[in-house]
Each structure stands twice: as structure tokens, then as C-alpha cells.
Amino acid sequence: MTDVRYAHVWRKIGPSPRPAIAVEDIPVVIAGAGPVGLAMALDLGRRGHRVTVLTRLDYIAAGSKAICFSKRSLDILDRLGVGDRMVAKGVTWNVGKVFWKDRPDPVYQFDLLPVKDQKRPAFINIQQYHVEELLIEALAALPNVELRWGHEVRDVAPQDGGVRIDVDAAEGGYAIDARWLIACDGNRSPIRQMLGLDFEGRVFEDNFLIADIRITEDRPAERWFWFDPPFNPGKSALFHRQPDDVWRLDFQLGWNIDRDACLKDENVERYIRAMMGPDVAFEKEWYSIYTFQCRRMARFVHGSVIFAGDSAHLVSPFGARGCNGGFADVDNLGWKLDLVLQGADAALLESYNEEAIITADENILNSTRSTDFLTPKSTMSETFRDAVLELAAEHSFARPLVNSGRLSTAISYPGSGLNTPDEDSWDGGIAPGSPALDAPLGDAWLLDGLGDRFTLLRAGGGDAVDGLDVVDLDAPLALSRYGLEAGGAYLIRPDHYVAARWKAPDAAKIDRALVRAKGGG
């Protein structure tokens, strides 16, 4: 999401001291302490690397901002050790309902988690500041990770073997010589601008109003979306539950509006009462107007400077593909940079560039299509949109065409050079380049058994394998989800994507696939 205005302080932290030496040597510097920067620090910090996070702010910003966290993000946060706390705090939901005009019943509803028996739900809703606080708490347990509040990157200059970063802090300026700089500094990315890098895409001419309010009424934890409702004629609206009795109301406003007038409390409250009823009792939590764009950088890796999250790619919020897309970057980059820091060829990072761009492009494609359905750009586009909604209420065939946001799911890289193509013929299972699927293993879960390293997932038992974690499966549901029969195996990457699979592997095949998955193929 872009252009969120009027964000203020959620929790004051205060400026961190300036380091004692004028020029520090630090292997990894992360710019930005939003969810993406913090998760990046947690991933690399848990792998034992010395990481310094620089953030211009000396507080956690208020405003719910990103609220929908996908199953895939929860799986990633599980790997990072914070999934349980996220889910305990969040509101779990799987069901979305789509309403049209004044019809009381939904024209369409969907369940976002069609494959049941997985540890995590399709989504939780949780305010971005809660996510940031949970990540900061987890980072505090890592002595090798340092968060510097109120430290602003002023200049970035590539140099031999890394990058020189000039930093401004309250107590004065200093410099860091970093081997790697990960720019998680948001959609306006100062680092992207300092390096004069591109950020191409499409601007959508529309404004949306967010009204986050506290109400005590009990309403279902579902995503409700309206096309052309009587309380916002000709436009769209969204209603969604967050923790702490906070609800996200979102109203399309149109393009030519007076933003300051629209954001006045009395105007926002007119929208709230129109949707919720004239007598609704509520408290203001956060009001904001946003516009959005779909754009990305041509490359995410620029020498020693690597971009992740909104600094690299932006989408419309319909589909929850912004922050979830950023977590996908973290997941993809963490293990690769870990190997490079341990001495692997830095060429492996080119696969981050490729795979993260595949993810960004799919997210941009989906969010652009949703936006075109939500806000038709021509009379005929609107005619078709309304015909789809009308038919959806009458016949099931039209329901897949209803697009109120295609919500974020894990994205596959079937053509990635890290994959070993199948040599056997598979009926089902999970193809190389796709994410591992969860399944119950007794009282535990399959994904929880995959750690931060490469894992061999086998049907039945076998010997230990050098350099690999091994998980032996015998639960019928898990075996069937992977299409595995006795003797078969999957090679799973540290980000829990399938690298290779075999019906009858041998040590040499596994080794070749491992070399390839580490960028050596």
C-alpha cells in the first residue's frame, strides 16, 4: 500500500546511541524496520550473522496499515519462531463474502483454505504495529542483531567488496562499510533514489478511505466486500475484523476529491454510519486516505545493495499481496545470503533476483486484474462486471469471475534454474519450484519439521545423509499429498520450496540436485 498519510506514534522508543567508532565494518546492514526489514534481520540473525538494522524513525508507527497475513507468511513466521505469537494475537479467518448493491445475501462466498488439515489458516488479521512489536521482541533475544532507532541512511556509495553507508543519528553522523545492504526502506525507498534506480509501473487514479474503528458488536471474522452498495453508490467497500475489537472499513472515494476534506472526522463518520447504521457506537482508531500503484524495479539486486519488499515492488492492497509479498522476499533471500556469507558464490543471489521478480510480477498481475474489476475503467467494463455479479448470484459458473481481490498465496517458480526437473513421471504431489504443503504428522505438523536448512523428505526410512536434515514420513495423508511411495524422496530448500523429487533416488542424484539448488548447476 502506498501513500498512507498521517501515520503517528504507536510506541515511542527513542534514539539509539551513535556507535563509538567513526567507520564500522558490518557484514549485513538492513535499512528499514518495517515488517520486511525486521523479518529479514530475524532470518539472518537466527542463522548467526551479525546484522545491523537502521531506521529513520525512533518509534513504532501507529496505523494498522498491513493487516492481512497469509498462510504462507505464517508458515515463514513459524520457521522464524514467531508464528504462534502472531496467530495467538491475530484474528483467524478463512471465508470471504461478496455483496452487490442492496442484496442482503452474498452473491458469492469463498473459502481461502480449500486444503484442510494444515497447521495454519488461510489468513489472520493483525495490525502491522503488533507484527513489528512481535518481531522486535524476537530480535531482542539475538545478541548478534542490533536495531538502531533514529539512524537515517544519508548516502550510499558502492565500493570494492561492498558498500559505504553514511548515517545520520541524533548524536551525529558516522559511516558503515557493509558487505551487503538490504534496502527494506519502503515504497519511497530513499536508497533506491540515492542510487538513481528505476521504479516503473502504473498509477491507478482512485482514492480509498480507511476507517479503522473500535466497536464492541459481535460480528463474524470474515472478509466482506461490497460492489456498488447503497451506502457508497457506484463504488466499493470492505469490512474486516482485526484484534482488539478494531475493524477495518475501506471505502472507494474516486479520483477528483478534496483529500483533506474527506479525511475530516465528520466526513469519515458519515461513511461509517452509512455502512454500520446510524446508531453504531464506535471509537476512532485510525483514519487514512490512500492511493496506489503497481510498479517494480527492473532488478532487485544491484551489486552489494539488495532490495526487498515495497522498495522493490508495489501492488494495490486488494489481495493482501504487499506485506505478504515482502515476506516472500525475506524467505527467498535469507538462506541464499546465508550461504553467500559462508563463502558460496555470490551468483546464487541472482536466483533471488529471478525468483523474487516472478513473485512480484504475479502479484502485480493479480492485483492489477482485481483493480480493473473493482474499478472499471469504461462503461463496457462496468457492464461486464455487473453482468458477472448478477450471474454469480444465479449460476455457479460466473462465480470464479468475481474478483474482489485474489488473495495472496505462495507463488511457484516452475522454471527456476535451481530446480532439478523431474526424471520420473508423477501423478500428483508437488512439482519442483512449488512450496511444500503442510500435513499433520501425529500431534505435530510436517512444515514444523522442516528447519532452516536443506531437508530430504523421504517415504519410509534410510541412512543419514551428509549435509542434509532428514524427515521420514509414514503418515498416509502426508504421503498422499506428496504423491510419495516407499523409497521416494523430495529435496526441500531452506525456504520450504521443492528443489527436486525422485521415485528412487541415489546419493549422486541427491548431491547433484543439492549443488544445483545452491546455484552451482
Binding site: 462503461t379 463496457m380 457492464t383 461486464f384 455487473d386 453482468a387 458477472v388 448478477e390 450471474l391 449460476h395 459458473f397 460466473a398 469471475l401
Partner: protein
């Protein structure tokens, strides 16, 4: 399946008559509405992506037009 561009209707005049009758007494917006409903219903029946894309190209005045 590929798009049929040779005569394929059993009763062309009768079907054309029904198509025109669908629009009798409707204003333009309503006609657009039922046309959109008809197109969506038919493309679902066809189902095959390549055939639909070929038809879209023909409608646009493309190569097979």
C-alpha cells in the same frame, strides 16, 4: 478444439430471430447488460481458453476476420 468459422447452426434464421427478440423493448444499457450476460454464458460453455481467445481475435477484426 479450435474455433469453427464455417456454418455450424442448425436453424440460423430462427436463432438470429431469438437474438434480436432478446433486445426488444430494452433500452441501450439494458441491451448491453443482456449481451454481456449472453457472452459470459457462452464463453463458459465453450470453456477452452484457446478457442475463446481466437473468437476474441476474430471479433476484434483480427487475422481470421
Amino acid at each position: 478444439m479450435s474455433l469453427i468459422l464455417t456454418p455450424n447452426l442448425v436453424d440460423p434464421d430462427g436463432i438470429y430471430e431469438k437474438l434480436i427478440a432478446l433486445h426488444e423493448g430494452r433500452d441501450e444499457a439494458d441491451s448491453q447488460r443482456v449481451n454481456a450476460r449472453l457472452i459470459l454464458t457462452l464463453i463458459n460453455h465453450i470453456g477452452d481458453r484457446a478457442t475463446i481467445l481466437e473468437a476474441i481475435e476474430v471479433a476484434a477484426g483480427g487475422p481470421k476476420g
